[in-house]
Structure formats: structure tokens, C-alpha cells
């Protein structure tokens, strides 16, 4: 077993090896559970960094006039909040879950390409160092919005190349992570685990990984053109040279729309695990769930210009993108129907994961309906760039994606740590979150319909009351996440011993393992019947 560099690679009897000690374990690890943990902790840290920025935004908007920050810093906060939450919190959290769960769910010894798995993760802390450092350099961080539209974004100062290159690094990380997921799912399933027997979290991740590989390079191309336009005199987005700033929007949203499904499809998978467990019934309509996921993924490639109705497009284009967008409601409706049908006449109990899952179904559906409203082009002319849009996408992202992540954390933490979390505190966290999030985002619908534009640090007096309510909700929601942090730390450190089964209604290979599972699992593949 000699290798090129025995000093650099340790590959002796890797089968029954426990983890290495100290910092080296985390820096050099090729273990899917270690890497999953790293992803999850990193995303939790970024969730608080991005959340702190959101609180700066909401504090400034508590009343009209400028109170706390100057407008330029406010714009940096909105831009950075979005970039951090999308690329630093939600996406890595789902990748962390994929790392922990997919090998255990399909009976594989590890991810297919373990060393590359380590690289995918360790790019991220460096990328976000690069991104966050821009807040401290002359001229400040990016302030043109996370969508990076030219020509505005080209006015960014010295931060500009840092932002672009940080996005490149995040893209490299995502693409490698997604390749690993696809290779693992297609090649590492235990004998008998056919595609249509795969747990839905695995299915939704397979499709998500495909979306990632298809669109992250598109974002890379878009930001590369921004870079050359600014520093090398190209004219991609410059009409004087024959280009068009609208071209950037088309390319960005060709990435951006599949991107929003990248952030929700794994959530669908999680909810499809939790609801059957606590309803004590098999998932209603497994096959239709798979086909609905695939349909949503397909449609995500042909709806991007609904983000651009007000930009100016041929009428045929507007109509096409409007109707294609509305079509997405069909497979999404199938999913919501199936979740409800799973609960129908089930023996339901309401532990914390189930509470988050039910809140997901209701609140995500509200976000879906406001999305349907936005898809109607003539109505969108009114809603565009107002707080209605902010309310819409926060409903699908916070009580949608983030709630699914909370649900997943409570659901699988006992399996990962071997300890039960504190159920009372979990329920307190749930109720604070679900009340806080609605106080935070529901009034923003009204603000938007009344005409308050998004991305402004100051506003007209008539918007004051709803903004105050929203800010109060923001602080309730934000501060109650500290309780989540406390519960997670408490569960890692100790608590009641979790059984292997953990939840009596839970099905799947991961529950056949001990809690916590050994460092290496399924080195011999289980037989799936």
C-alpha cells in the first residue's frame, strides 16, 4: 500500500478506523459524516452572520428617516445578507445534510469521491473570508444587490474583484459537491436499492445536483463577463459597444431561477421523510412525488424571464414565461396534496420536527400562492421591486427552506449525536419562530401592495406601522434562533440517550444504524428488499 507520498496520505487499514484527533481530523478528513458536520456548522455560523445583517436592515427600517446606518452601508447589508444566506447558509446546509444522510440512506460506505468532498467544503470558509473582507476595504462591500445587475454593480470599488472571485470559488465548491452527490447516488446504492426505492431526500438531491451542475457554470460565465467588462474593456453589457445590460439579466436568471429550486427541492425531500414518520403512514403518492420533482426541475429552466417582466420583452415572450411559470403550480400542488393526504387519518403526534414540517407545508404554500400572483405579468408590473416580492421569496425561503432545515436538524440530531434534544425547548423554539416569522414577513405583503419599494433605507410615512410590526417580528425571530443554537449545543454535549430507531414511525436504512452511528458505516452493503 505504498503511495507517492506516504508522509502526506494515510491510507492504512481504513476500514475500522476511528476519527483522528484534534484539528487534523477536520482539516484532512475524507469521512462523509465529518464533512457533513463541517458543512452544517459552517452554514449555522453563516446563518447568524447573515441574520445579523438582516437585523441591521430591519432596525434601520423600524421608522422612517435615517437612524442607524448610512444608505451606502444599508445597501451593502441587503446585498451581503442575500449572498451569505443563499450561498453560505441555505445551500451548504443542504449539502451538509446530503453528506450525512445520502450514504446512510442508500447503504454506501462513504461519498463516491471522498477527497474531493473535503475540497468542496474547505473552499467555502476561504470564499466567505474573501467575500466578508470586502466590508473592511476602502469603498466597502458590494452594494448593488445580490443580482449584480450592470451597469450599477460596475460602480463597485475595490471590492468588485473580491466579490466576483468569491462567487467563482463558491461555484467551484458547489459543482464538485454536486458531482459527488450524483456519483454517489448513481453508483453507490446497496444491492436492491433501485431508483424507485430510493428515499425521497435522495431523489430530490439527485435532481438538485443536476440543477447545480447545469447552472453554477452559467453564473460563473455571467460574473466573468462582468469582470472583463470592468477591467478589460469588453462590451457584453454595454450598449455603446453593441452589448446589452439586459443580456446579463437573462443569463443571471437562467442561473437564478433553477437556483431557487436548488434551495427548495431538498426541503421537499426532508418534509417527505418527516410527515410519514409522525403520521405513521407511508408517504402518499411516492412515484408522483418523484415525477413532480423532476417536472419542477425541468420547468425551472424555462421560466427565468418572469423576473424581468418590467424590463421590456416581446409580448410573446411575456406570455410564454407567464404561462410556463403558472405551470409550476401543478407539480407543486401535487406535492402539497400528497403531504396533506399522508397526514389524512394518520396517527399523528406533534414533536418538534413535525411541527416545523406542518408549518412548512402551510407557510411555503402561502409563498407559493404569492408566487402565482407575481407570475401574472400585468399584475407583476405593479408588484415588481416592491416589498410584496420580498415577502414572497422570504416566505418560500425562511418558513420554507430554513424551516425544513430546522425540522431536519431536530429529526436527525438524535441519530447523529446519540442524544435526544430537549423537547420542551424545541417546542418553545418552534412557536417563537413560527410566530416571529409571520409577524416579520406577513406585513411586508401589505407594504408591497401599498407601493413600498424594496432595497431602500428610508420610506414614506404611511408605511411606518407595518414596518414597525415587521421589525418587531424580525427581532423575535432572530433572537429565538439563539435558542436553537443553545438546543443544538446542548444536544451535542449530552442529554437523554437516543434509541437506534429514535422515532417509532421512522423508516429507512439510517435508522437501522446505532445512534450515533459508527465512524464508518455500511462498509459491507446491506441487502435492500
Amino acid at each position: 500500500m505504498s503511495t507517492a507520498s506516504p508522509a502526506l496520505d494515510h491510507d492504512h487499514d481504513h476500514e475500522h478506523h476511528g476519527p483522528a484527533r484534534g484539528l487534523k481530523r477536520w482539516l484532512l478528513t475524507t469521512n462523509h459524516k465529518d464533512i457533513g458536520t463541517l458543512y452544517l456548522l459552517f452554514s449555522l455560523a453563516m446563518f447568524f452572520v447573515g441574520g445579523a445583517m438582516a437585523l441591521v436592515i430591519r432596525a434601520e427600517l423600524f421608522q422612517p428617516g435615517m437612524q442607524i446606518v448610512d444608505p451606502h452601508f444599508f445597501n451593502q447589508m441587503t446585498t451581503m445578507h442575500a449572498l451569505i444566506m443563499v450561498f453560505g447558509a441555505v445551500m451548504p446546509a443542504f449539502v451538509g445534510l446530503a453528506n450525512w444522510l445520502i450514504p446512510m440512506m442508500i447503504g454506501a460506505p462513504d461519498m463516491a469521491l471522498p477527497r474531493m468532498n473535503n475540497w468542496s467544503f474547505w473552499i467555502l470558509p476561504f470564499a466567505f473570508t474573501l467575500l466578508l473582507s470586502t466590508l473592511f476595504i476602502p469603498g466597502g462591500g458590494p452594494a448593488g444587490g445580490w443580482t449584480l445587475y450592470p451597469p450599477l454593480v460596475l460602480q463597485t470599488g475595490q471590492a468588485f474583484p473580491f466579490v466576483i472571485l468569491a462567487i467563482h470559488m463558491m461555484g467551484v465548491s458547489s459543482i464538485m459537491g454536486a458531482i459527488n452527490v450524483i456519483a454517489t447516488i448513481l453508483n453507490m446504492r446497496a444491492p436492491g436499492m433501485t431508483l424507485m426505492k430510493m428515499p425521497l431526500f435522495v431523489w430530490t438531491w439527485l435532481i438538485t445536483a443536476f440543477l447545480l451542475i447545469a447552472v453554477m457554470p452559467v453564473l460563473a460565465g455571467a460574473v466573468t463577463m462582468l469582470l472583463t467588462d470592468k477591467y478589460f474593456g469588453t462590451s457584453f453589457f454595454n450598449a455603446a459597444g453593441g452589448g446589452d445590460p439586459v443580456l446579463f439579466q437573462h443569463i443571471f436568471w437562467f442561473f437564478g431561477h433553477p437556483e431557487v429550486y436548488i434551495m427548495i427541492l431538498p426541503a421537499f425531500g426532508i418534509i417527505s421523510h418527516i410527515i410519514p414518520t409522525f403520521a405513521r403512514k407511508p408517504l402518499f403518492g411516492y412515484a408522483s412525488m418523484v415525477y413532480a420533482t423532476a417536472s419542477i426541475a425541468f420547468l425551472s429552466f424555462i421560466v427565468w424571464a418572469h423576473h424581468m417582466f418590467t424590463v421590456g420583452m416581446p409580448l410573446a415572450g411575456i406570455l410564454f414565461f407567464m404561462y410556463a411559470t403558472m405551470l409550476i403550480a401543478v407539480p407543486t400542488g401535487v406535492k402539497v396534496f400528497n403531504w396533506v393526504a399522508t397526514m389524512w387519518r394518520g396517527s399523528m403526534t406533534f414533536e418538534t420536527p413535525m411541527l416545523f414540517a406542518i408549518a412548512f407545508v402551510i407557510l411555503f404554500t402561502i409563498g407559493g400562492f404569492s408566487g402565482l400572483m407575481l407570475s401574472i405579468a400585468p399584475a407583476d408590473f405593479q408588484y415588481h421591486d416592491t416589498y410584496f416580492v420580498v415577502a414572497h421569496f422570504h416566505y418560500v425561503l425562511v418558513p420554507g427552506s430554513v424551516f425544513s432545515l430546522m425540522a431536519a436538524a431536530y429529526y436527525w440530531l438524535p441519530k447523529w449525536t446519540g442524544h435526544m434534544y430537549n423537547e420542551t425547548l424545541g417546542k418553545v423554539h418552534f412557536w417563537l419562530s413560527v410566530i416571529g416569522v409571520n409577524i416579520l414577513f406577513f406585513p411586508q405583503h401589505f407594504l408591497g401592495l401599498a407601493g413600498m419599494p424594496r432595497r431602500i433605507p428610508d420610506y414614506a410615512l404611511q408605511f411606518t406601522q407595518f414596518n414597525m410590526i415587521s421589525t418587531v417580528g424580525a427581532f423575535i425571530f432572530g433572537l429565538s434562533q439563539l435558542l436553537f443554537l443553545y438546543i443544538v449545543i446542548q444536544t451535542i454535549r449530552g442529554g437523554a440517550k437516543a434509541t437506534d430507531q429514535v422515532w417509532d414511525g421512522a423508516k429507512g436504512l439510517e435508522w437501522t444504524l446505532s445512534s450515533p452511528p459508527p465512524y464508518h458505516t455500511f462498509t459491507t452493503a446491506p441487502e435492500v428488499k
Binding site: 507520498s5 484532512l28 477527497r115 456519483a183 452559467v218 453593441g242 437573462h250 437562467f254
Partner: protein, 296 residues
């Protein structure tokens, strides 16, 4: 464990899915990538370039070390047929991501030619205001430097000189690499080495001619990346393609040296196949370039 998957296990010396224990290479690669990006950002902001090259060096060292490790593991029979499939899936999806990357720049080219340039010329009501108010005398045409002729007057690059020769060179290299592959499968190592050497030589020839073409474009045609949307798309597409050919040549060189060192068997030579897939991908992108950038 992998026995049930390993239909052609005879070609592999192990049935075991190899999970490496720990590795320094990924973290070194991360530090290298960070150094390179930080250096590039400093460079673009008018700072020094040393940091960038340190990062590049770290990445190159990593690639050398990481691939050496993998090659030794492979040559020592630590990889099963299932492992081989993981590598194949990895390479296929990596190439797919590259396809999507090039698709962006082709998309920008098509958009400019189909929409933005005609609109700037006043076609349809989309262009009416911009055309009428800003550039009423601009007539849509291709190639174009745009309404303000950013970058001055230039002549476009015609297809039937060097680009046509380069097309022949790359197509021939597709033949020589297939010849090499047949040599490998039939156990004819001389053909393998000759075929690979010819492919590398054709790749280098292609790159030299591309370099000469760039000099010609800059000096004689006054065609630069600043030459409006034509220059932008021309240099972005040919530049990234040239970069990929360079990477492909380096990959093929490694495969050539490995072939000389006696690596690969007729049954088992995924690294060769991956290099060949990559080379064909680069070839197909060039055909797109030749048709849409140079010819039409």
C-alpha cells in the same frame, strides 16, 4: 461489497470500494485557490501579481501531488470496478459543467447578433428609443464595434485562413487520439505512444497558430477585446477555448508520460479515456467556434 456490481472484476485486483483515510491535498488546494483569487483581486485593483502566482504554484503542486497519489493507488490495484465508475461519472458531469460554461458565451454571442445589435439599429419598437435618441445613425451589422465603435475601427477575422487550418488540425488530432486508443486496446504500445505524441504535437501546433492569429488580430486588424461586442465575444470564446486546449495538452502529456512508463492495460485505462473525452469536448467546442465565431 462491490462484488455484485463488479461485472468485469477480473480487470481489477480488488472488489473493495477504496475510501482514503485522510489527505493533505484538498486543504492545500483550498489555500492555493484562496491565495490565487486574493492575488488576482489585488492584481486587478492595481496591486502586485506575486500572490497570484504563488497561488497558481500551490494549485500546480497540489495537482501534481494529488494525481500522483491517485495514480499510485490505481497502479497498486486499490481501485475496484465500482471506483472506476465513480471516476467516470465524475468526469462526465465535469465535462457537462464545462459545456454549460461555454454555452453562456455562445448564448451571449447569439443574443448580441439576434437581439441587441438589431435593436440598437432600430429594429422593432424595442430599439426605437435607444436608436432614435442616442444613435440614430447606427445601422445594425455584424461584425460590429457597436454604435460608438468602442476600440476604434477593426477588421474581422475571416474563417478561411488560419481558422480553417486549425479546424483541420483539431479534427486530425481527434483521429490520432483514436488511433492511440486502438493501439492501447490491442496491446500495441508503440501505436499508443505515437498516437498520443502526434495528438500532443497537433495540440501545440494549434495553440501556436492561435497565438500567431492573436498577434495578427492585434497588429494588423486592430481587433482587440475592446472592439465592441464582436471583439468581446471573439476573445472570450477563443480565449477560454485556447485555455481549455492548453489544459487538454497538459493532460495528454501526462497520459503520454504514463504510457511511456508502462501504465494502463487494454482492459483498464480510465485516465486515458478521460483525457480523450476531454479532448473530444474541446474539439467539438472548436467546431462551434469555427461555425459561429469565424464563419457565419
Amino acid at each position: 461489497m462491490a462484488a455484485s456490481h463488479a461485472h468485469d472484476a477480473s480487470a481489477f485486483t480488488t472488489d473493495h470500494y477504496y475510501v482514503p483515510h485522510q489527505s493533505y491535498w484538498p486543504i492545500i488546494a483550498s489555500i492555493g485557490l484562496f491565495t490565487m483569487m486574493l492575488g488576482a483581486a489585488n492584481w486587478l485593483n492595481g496591486g502586485g501579481v506575486i500572490l497570484f502566482w504563488i497561488g497558481v504554484a500551490l494549485i500546480l503542486i497540489t495537482m501534481f501531488g494529488w494525481f500522483s497519489t491517485v495514480i499510485h493507488e490505481s497502479e497498486n490495484g486499490m481501485y475496484s470496478a465500482q471506483m472506476d465508475r465513480s471516476f467516470r461519472l465524475g468526469m462526465v458531469w465535469f465535462i457537462f459543467s464545462e459545456v454549460m460554461f461555454f454555452a453562456v458565451f455562445f448564448g451571449a454571442l447569439f443574443y448580441a447578433r439576434m437581439y441587441s445589435v438589431p435593436w440598437l439599429g432600430g429594429e422593432t419598437d424595442h430599439g426605437l428609443l435607444t436608436h432614435g435618441l442616442l444613435w440614430p445613425h447606427y445601422e445594425a451589422a455584424w461584425p460590429t464595434g457597436g454604435p460608438e465603435r468602442i476600440g476604434g475601427f477593426f477588421a474581422p477575422m475571416g474563417p478561411w485562413g488560419l481558422p480553417a487550418i486549425n479546424t483541420l488540425i483539431l479534427l486530425s488530432s481527434g483521429v490520432t487520439i483514436t488511433w492511440a486508443h486502438w493501439g492501447l486496446i490491442e496491446g500495441n504500445r508503440a501505436a499508443l505512444i505515437k498516437g498520443l505524441a502526434a495528438t500532443v504535437a497537433l495540440g501545440v501546433l494549434f495553440l501556436s497558430l492561435q497565438g500567431y492569429e492573436y498577434v495578427h488580430a492585434y497588429r494588423d486588424l486592430h481587433l482587440t477585446p475592446q472592439s465592441g461586442i464582436y471583439g468581446s465575444t471573439f476573445y472570450m470564446l477563443t480565449g477560454f477555448h485556447g485555455l481549455h486546449v492548453t489544459i487538454g495538452v497538459i493532460i495528454l502529456l501526462v497520459i503520454l508520460f504514463r504510457s511511456i512508463a508502462g501504465h494502463f492495460t487494454p482492459q483498464r485505462h480510465f485516465a486515458f479515456e478521460a483525457a480523450a473525452w476531454y479532448w473530444h469536448f474541446v474539439d467539438v467546442v472548436w467546431l462551434g467556434l469555427f461555425v459561429f465565431v469565424y464563419w457565419l
